[in-house]
């Protein structure tokens, strides 16, 4: 197996890495780029803990080959806040206590950002279905949904986006 050289953009930074052909984007982020904010919960696209954006499209990074990142633009949890200034979504997750253990939180925040970019004014039902691929075992989702709805309202009201 020869290693593949990949040139890509992660959270706006031009980066390069070497990967094995079988490795996933999740492997590359965590093991080659040391960006461990993206989590692995299942490795089969069933839990959403590894959610990232790939050219602005929400995907499970465990179901993307690392080599596919060539020339793409990737968005991870590490790029959601502006240095130490939290994104509204992050702030709302904290205010609403929308996390307990926190393992699903990076994926949920990345997914929520994608949701609100696509649909700034989602209904509760739309929110619940959009986020159905992000499993949370701790919260029962109640506070997560409230945080997302509140973030959406704040962002529509001209809060920092």
């Amino acid at each position: 197996m020869s290693r593949t050289h990949v040139t890509t953009t992660v959270n706006g930074d031009a980066l390069e890495f070497l990967c094995e052909p079988h490795e996933t984007l999740l492997d590359a982020l965590r093991n080659h780029l040391n960006m461990t904010g993206t989590k692995e919960g299942c490795g089969s696209g069933d839990c959403g803990a590894c959610s990232v954006t790939l050219d602005d499209r929400l995907v499970c990074s465990c179901l993307v080959l690392a080599a596919e990142a060539e020339g793409k633009s990737i968005g991870t949890i590490e790029g959601v806040s502006n240095k130490d200034e939290l994104h509204v979504i992050q702030q709302k997750f904290l205010e609403h206590a929308a996390l307990q253990c926190g393992i699903c939180t990076p994926g949920l925040i990345v997914s929520t950002r994608a949701l609100l970019q696509e649909n700034p004014n989602p209904t509760e039902e739309e929110t619940r279905y959009y986020l159905a691929g992000n499993l949370c075992r701790c919260t029962g989702y109640d506070k997560i949904i409230r945080a997302v709805m509140d973030a959406a309202e704040t962002m529509r009201g001209g809060g920092a986006a």
Partner: protein, 290 residues
């Protein structure tokens, strides 16, 4: 399987060349949502992946007077956002929308769904009721296969080595036609269909059904076109009696197995329920359209 080589061809010829000339088994990949899951362990089973997403024609969808020409590798997310396609084939778009989560939608494609040849693939019954044709390219040129003949067994399709699904052609439906697709899953999302049913009906000005196709999924080794179920609707106004007859025909045609997703008995029953409900929706749509 373990991926040992990744290829990103820009043309169909190049892709077919990679598939034909690889020393290891080679597979075409679109969104990879099925294929990459299989890429775990088993390093003794090497696999070459040929990514089809860099081939322009496979990533485009055009609608014209003849119907839809669908690049098989377009993601469901992109496809379901296409109002022009949804206006003509609402059931097909519904089916595409049902595949997996938002994240999966961002990657999964109708072509991949079809080539994976799972009996439970959601878009398959919807393609069948729309009489889609599969355009297959290979070392010896192109051929076309009706979609209901594409899958030949669980996980098996009719393509030979080095063949590649390069387009899906979906004819423009006759006036007064509409489709619908429904599936049954235990939860509200994220499950594989326990059973699925696609229905397309054509109604005349008086609301009488002049043509109908019913296809069912997850109840046999391959998705099934059920002519008896369509026949039960033709000539009726799709009233309750016709719907019940179609449901019964679908249940009778189903040859399901019992597995972790449902029992044989349950699947036979539910596929009838879905057929009835999908036919009702399709008929309402057709009435609205005509």
């Amino acid at each position: 399987m373990a991926v040992v080589e990744y290829k990103a061809p820009k043309t169909i010829d190049e892709a077919v060349g990679f598939l034909a000339n690889s020393i290891h088994p080679a597979k075409a990949m679109a969104g990879g949502t099925d294929l990459i899951i299989q890429n775990r362990g088993h390093y003794d089973q090497p696999l070459v992946v040929v990514d089809t997403k860099h081939i322009d024609s496979m990533m485009q969808a055009t609608v014209d007077a003849d119907g839809l020409v669908l690049g098989p590798s377009i993601s469901c997310a992109e496809l379901t956002a296409r109002d022009d396609i949804k206006a003509i084939y609402p059931g097909l778009i519904e089916a595409a929308f049902l595949i997996g989560s938002t994240q999966i939608q961002g990657r999964a494609s109708i072509g991949g769904n079809l080539c994976n040849a799972s009996p439970a693939g959601d878009t398959l019954p919807a393609l069948i009721v729309n009489a889609a044709q599969c355009v297959i390219a290979g070392p010896d040129g192109e051929r076309t296969v009706p979609v209901e003949e594409f899958c030949i067994g669980v996980g098996k399709n009719c393509m030979a080595r080095a063949e590649l699904l390069v387009a899906l052609k979906v004819p423009r439906p006759a006036p007064g036609t509409a489709d619908a697709y429904l599936r049954f899953i235990p939860r509200s999302e994220m499950d594989i269909a326990v059973a699925g049913a696609g229905v397309s009906v054509t109604l005349d000005k008086n609301g009488k059904c002049t043509a109908a196709r019913v296809a069912i999924g997850a109840v046999a080794p391959t998705p099934l076109l059920v002519p008896e179920a369509g026949d039960a609707l033709i000539g009726t106004e799709i009233d309750d009696a016709a719907l019940d007859a179609a449901a019964a025909a679908a249940s009778a045609a189903a040859k399901p197995i019992t597995d972790r997703r449902g029992t044989e008995e349950y699947r036979k029953h539910v596929v009838g329920v879905l057929t009835k409900r999908a036919a009702k929706i399709a008929a309402e749509r057709a009435r609205g359209a005509s």
